[in-house]
Symmetry: none
Subunit: 513 residues, 2 copies
């Protein structure tokens, strides 16, 4: 069976992927190495590549190649149905993406790109100077343009839902409420419980930069990092990025007076990277096709959160790793010490540094507010008040200023609306997957109540990874996030696994003192 | 006066430059950060960019733009002759480049790009494993492809000369022999003289990596490095590269048991970078035009060698800087101590680590061998023998293996034939420029026999830089290397200034003990 049209389409996709990965390489360099003075030229380089990429992704040539491949596939499907199904799913995903790109007015695409760059610059300025009104007009502009984009895309969805699709395919607000509603009542209760039980878990020591980086290296070695295909860099905001089929990069950062920030960021980004490493993209051929990509940002976050919270922040991990911290000068005398320090349970204003119990509340607030901004008429001028009101209600803390309030995160400044829920959905997915993993490990012979912990304590994290590779990673975009969860756990995604886990952990933490 | 056609051509060049600088960014990343496993994908990225660049540089559109700009210029030249002359030189250089690119088959361009990436990877492997035969077929392939390239270019020059043009415009083997012949006889004599006089100048101590990098930082700060537009990285083979009008990068490396290697590499690469920083390219507009580029690699090397040898290895520099080495634990008690240690005068096998007296011999050997490989029928299989034979003859040392022999340098693995002579020409140019600089400094009031040293001793290296900026850097490609030397020094380039300098230094070093 020859696949002429499919092969031609594959070659086209491969060249697009090469260009896309060049764009990513420039992004990596910009965030890890580039001197500040080079920003303007780098902006032009990225702009040029974005223009070329958009042209390729919306071209008539691309359209024709997809059509021809689809016809060829219809003939082939009689012969090998399973292979054809996979290829068919690839074509389907390409068609969706092409139709999206084609519906967009290229003038709007450029306007959005410019508004993103301007928005980011103004946000940085506003945040530094704690001056929301500098940023507000740019935010207003981004909202208007993104609303226009949703209108042009003309999908049978609301504005916010349309914009959330690239992050969470098939997500609806109705479904989001089903999943988040139990959290809206239960999370504030848990935060209060944590507050009364252990308010003294603050950290009043620090580690040198050298020590923190040494601990990160040790962690990655323990977790089987292959230096041949990975590298760890430094950047102001940690991230993970794939630059080629054998090129997985991650970054971390050192935050003064936060001795676990660097370590946990490394664990988190490594989780993202492991997902990318496990995608069905291990040959050049697959790397270019949609099925070789991550299925959603929530699934991505479920993987990073798993390694950060279920592993690195577990009691078992602390028991097996605390000596390393102690050797670097951390004042911890036991696994219990490290475990309590790395799980502070003090609700704060900062999402990124939040503990597991309060983290979800940060997301609920952002999700509600961005839906309100995009489609329910919340005015940008009222955002700071609304933000502060909700923080007081749900977390009992009030930002001193907008820099630690509604200017805290980068997402909106780049016009990225619809991304925030992925973090919390990631927590839910991670919890439900962990339950399924526990069952699997019990079947493998781990007999305790906490088979994950048993595994971690004996240094067998590779068993957790193997399970994730086998059950989760390799599907790529064959299934969406919810289908994946149901396939792996046998149940529809829900919030109870996450809430059970939190209650348990809180119980253990507060009773361990 | 409107310059419509010139402006259109400028915009075209600017986009080419953006793409070229993206290519350079990938190269930087490949050599400083990229994990080894990513080499094959990176090769494809570079190949794709090379293809796109070649298409742009040989397109009919480009051809038309040049023609139109030329016509426009002929009308304009009546009005402002000086400006028109500069623009005319730009057009002339573009025409030369276009005609070269047009002659090349695009298939060959891609083949060469791929062979370079493969060659580099295989060379690294062969060097590590000391196994020349792993690399030999790749070298053979590179030679064949480059021979084919010279054939397609069809210039009134020999194969090697044709390939050397991009590095040394207008260079001929005849002229090269005129310049190098006096060195062929005199350098081995000087090496012998050095050998008998001071065989005890070996270094039997080392510095930690941390100390070495600290000394490099101190050096760059002393020499006025602006962190806003520069960055210092690490790579197996030190290099300097410009990635944008405000983005100057350089790398260094730490070599065990060679405590000055890292320091001198930094001084060397910083000299390259200073030249690039001083080119008439400080606005985006100029960055894209030929006149904003370095005129030849020999001139480039003259600048790096100047800062490495005439400054960092001078007695005056040692006198002013030795305390920093001492503070980092180096067993040097005085400027004289440091100066003698940093000028060991022990002929060795390694070009990069060679002292100034034997350095030229390394280049003579490589130049002869690559001319023989490219156009006189030397077979790649015979290269190790020929290499070793010449080292024995000219330097009296024999490599223990090919890793420290013919696998030592990266150049041939990337198909860069014709580059090596630039190093030695750079020594000649640096020496002749230094004489002119001395005269200028005397006129400024420095009265000693060694006005450069006087300047360095008082910490006024910026005066040397200012002279270079004013006399050398800003010409760009307005003149070629030989024209530049004649313009600045009033004499045709020759080897005597270099030989005089060497004899003098040797005298001082051997009498100082």
């Amino acid at each position: 069976m020859t696949n002429n049209a499919l092969n031609k389409l594959g070659r086209y996709l491969r060249e697009t992927q090469l260009l896309g990965s060049i764009h990513s390489t420039l992004y990596w360099d910009q965030n890890t190495t580039m001197p500040a003075g080079a920003a303007s030229w780098r902006g032009e380089q990225l702009g040029l590549l974005a223009k070329v990429l958009h042209a390729r992704q919306s071209s008539d040539e691309f359209d024709d190649l997809i059509k021809e491949a689809k016809e060829e596939l219809q003939i082939q499907s009689v012969i090998d149905q399973k292979d054809a199904l996979q290829k068919g799913r690839n074509i389907e995903l390409l068609e969706i993406e092409l139709s999206r790109q084609k519906k967009l007015d290229s003038k709007l695409v450029v306007e959005i790109a410019t508004a993103q760059t301007d928005g980011y610059a103004l946000w940085q300025e506003a945040k530094t100077k704690n001056d929301y009104k500098r940023f507000a007009p740019a935010l207003k502009k981004l909202i208007t343009l993104r609303q226009e984009q949703a209108k042009q895309l003309d999908e049978p969805r609301s504005c916010w839902e349309t914009l959330a699709q690239p992050y969470e395919p098939d997500l609806t607000i109705k479904r989001l409420n089903e999943l988040f509603d139990p959290l809206r009542t239960r999370l504030p209760e848990l935060v209060n419980k944590a507050k009364t039980a252990s308010s003294k878990n603050t950290i009043n020591w620090d580690l040198t930069e050298r020590s923190q980086l040494k601990l990160c290296e040790r962690l990655l070695n323990k977790w089987g990092r292959d230096k041949h295909i990975t590298c760890l860099g430094r950047s102001p905001h940690p991230f993970s990025i794939t630059l080629g089929p054998q090129d997985f990069r991650l970054t971390t950062r050192v935050v003064p007076e936060q001795p676990f920030s660097c370590f946990l960021a490394t664990a988190h980004e490594w989780g993202h990277s492991l997902y990318e490493q496990g995608l069905p993209s291990q040959s050049h051929q697959w790397f270019a096709w949609p099925l070789g990509q991550a299925t959603s940002m929530a699934v991505h976050e479920s993987q990073s959160l798993f390694w950060e919270n279920r592993v690195a922040r577990s009691r078992a991990f602390s028991d097996s790793f605390w000596v390393n911290f102690s050797n670097e000068g951390a004042p911890v005398q036991s696994g219990l010490d490290l475990w309590r320090s790395i799980n502070p349970l003090v609700p704060g204003l900062n999402r990124v540094e939040a503990d597991e119990v309060s983290y979800g509340i940060h997301i609920l607030i952002r999700t509600d507010l961005e839906i309100a901004l995009l489609q329910d008429g919340l005015e940008v001028w009222d955002l700071p008040n609304e933000w502060n009101k909700r923080y007081k209600e749900l977390l009992g803390v009030i930002p001193k200023n907008d820099s630690e309030g509604c200017l805290q995160d980068v997402h909106w400044s780049e016009g990225a609306f619809g991304y925030f829920p992925s973090y919390l959905l990631g927590h839910l997915i991670s919890a439900q997957l962990s339950e399924a993993m526990s069952i699997a490990l019990k079947e493998e012979g781990y007999r305790s109540d906490d088979p994950l912990g048993e595994c971690i304590l004996e240094g067998s994290e590779h068993k957790l990874l193997n399970w994730l590779r086998k059950e989760v990673h390799h599907h790529g975009r064959q299934v969406n996030a919810e289908q994946l969860v149901e396939k792996v756990t046998g149940r529809r995604l829900a919030s109870n696994a996450f809430l059970n886990y939190l209650e348990n952990k809180l119980e253990m933490l507060t009773s361990s003192s």
